[in-house]
Symmetry: C2
């Protein structure tokens, strides 16, 4: 469980590149080696050589499978037998469900009752048990404790866990192995698991690489935390980037972001939607709003890098098409 | 220019696999080697092993670049200097424009005045001159003759040309080289250039492969022509598959389809839209309606092939996002 910094001392856990290498070894033949796409139009427009790392083609449609599989595969036989529990109505749910299915670990996913039916179905489709709870009457923490005690299940948080962070870092490792060293890597930031893991991998393989995190302007807690060096929060931010509505960085990810990330920037929802549509129309890939954050920072000129080799993490492509369609029209 | 069969004797021009091999050699480092995607969900649903050949990732967003580049690169120096002319408001226009730009051949594209501004801009963006004409007052044939005489330009038709057909066939050659032999190949059919070229390549590399063409139900001229062995036509068919609104097969493509294609099937627009949305949501790729025809035949169970290795040609991904968005909502 993630707690605000005020309630707890911030531990200073380092994630080593060796942990990311071990995660990558575990993911061989389990995760997709996702393609890297380029675009002459984007290169012309930015003056950079841009490499889009397409984790929207990852199994379950996002990078989350990497961390979930890495975490679950390291449980003890007894933990595996008792099963795992996650709270998520998003990509972590699907990543966990598939990892659990592959590793034959009973997986329970708790979702709010109002989670989209399509997400519930996808998670059940990977063999997980979905428990719905009423946001208004049930406290997540209490439900978590209850299920964990009843079932003896291990709770796997979406980002604030060393094995999750190391797993997500394999995305940047794979990118740099595919295209060579980078001058700049842009990564979206929700809870900071992908960002911190990728920063550690990027600096190990490409020491001069600047790593910049990208947040929605309406959910800029990590950017403010980065600049003030004090954990900041947001509450129910109004942004289309649902994967980055996370209220705060984690106890592990906050110090990792401070230590390994060179800058943080934000993108308005308007710019994000424009960039998402650009990626759909020009690169012919379906990218979810959160997945377009890093690209938006570059395409909108918020980060400029002429003459540079730039990696852009496309984190996922799970969209409700009719919902996105209405955003594109209005 | 294509004329209905009734106005002309049908010549029996064969396209050899050697011509497709030569086209492939010309396209090295010019065309993209497009990726092949698979989907566990699709395999489970169909009982087949399905390989989606993603020509939506081809340069200019469709397979059309292959044929255009192959045709243009074989012009004489004098023809190259005088330039080329095409009538198209679709993917052939962009394929021609880019091929002309690469080969430094002046390229003129004639489009109806009401062609979408975005298509005009894309074609001009590749360096072609766009001439707009009024569909109501100007006959395409007369305009064509006039421009061809004034400029001495060579007219490059969108499908009924040996070099175009051979160029399009390289898509199937590349697919089979990537994934190995196939039991079945599904290809969309407009004018029949892609279908006949791919059928010839498929049979050369994978002799037992059945090749099936797929048309929109509302533009089923090729299917009716195939079954009656007499050229049938459609006029302004009402289908969202704009790339398959072609009124009839060509003088070259009709006999090639009769000789090399094993069957033709049709797909309703409703089924097509459903399959297109499925490809967007599950494969995370942007596919235009015509580009989803072949997939729809399989996904909708119109063609069944359990236990088979099935190639599905995804022909292109050029969409007007707001237009498609409104289709997805309604």
């Amino acid at each position: 469980m993630t707690l605000p910094a005020s309630e707890t001392a911030i531990p200073d856990v380092e994630i080593s590149y060796a942990a990311i290498e071990q995660a990558a070894a575990r993911l061989v033949d389990r995760a997709q080696i996702t393609p890297v796409l380029g675009s002459r139009t984007v290169n012309d427009r930015t003056g950079a050589q841009v490499f889009f790392k397409c984790e929207n083609f990852q199994r379950t449609g996002s990078f989350k499978f990497r961390g979930a599989f890495n975490a679950l595969s390291q449980l003890t036989p007894e933990q595996k037998q008792r099963g795992v529990l996650a709270f998520s109505s998003g990509n972590h749910a699907q990543g966990m469900a598939l990892a659990g299915q592959i590793l034959n670990i009973p997986t329970t996913i708790a979702m709010p009752q109002d989670a989209p039916a399509v997400k519930q179905a996808a998670t059940r489709g990977y063999g997980a048990e979905v428990i719905l709870y009423d946001r208004a009457s049930v406290k997540r923490e209490e439900l978590c404790e209850q299920i964990a005690i009843e079932r003896g299940a291990t709770v796997i948080p979406p980002y604030d866990h060393p094995d999750i962070i190391a797993g997500q870092g394999t995305a940047a490792k794979e990118l740099i192995e595919q295209v060579g060293s980078l001058d700049l890597l842009l990564v979206c930031c929700g809870g900071g698991g992908l960002l911190s893991g990728c920063a550690i991998a990027a600096h190990a393989l490409s020491p001069q690489c600047r790593v910049i995190g990208v947040e929605p302007a309406a959910a800029d807690d990590a950017t403010r935390s980065f600049y003030t060096r004090t954990l900041q929060t947001v509450h129910n931010p109004d942004t289309i980037a649902d994967g980055a509505r996370t209220p705060f960085l984690g106890k592990l990810t906050f110090p990792l972001v401070l230590r390994h990330v060179q800058d943080m920037v934000t993108v308005s929802d308007e710019a994000l939607l424009r960039s998402m549509a650009f990626l759909w129309e020009r690169l012919k890939i379906v990218v979810e709003p959160t997945g377009a954050l890093a690209a938006a920072a570059l395409l909108e000129g918020i980060v400029k890098a002429p003459g540079s080799r730039v990696g852009v993490m496309i984190s996922g492509g799970n969209v409700d098409l009719t919902k996105i369609a209405s955003l594109l029209i209005h």
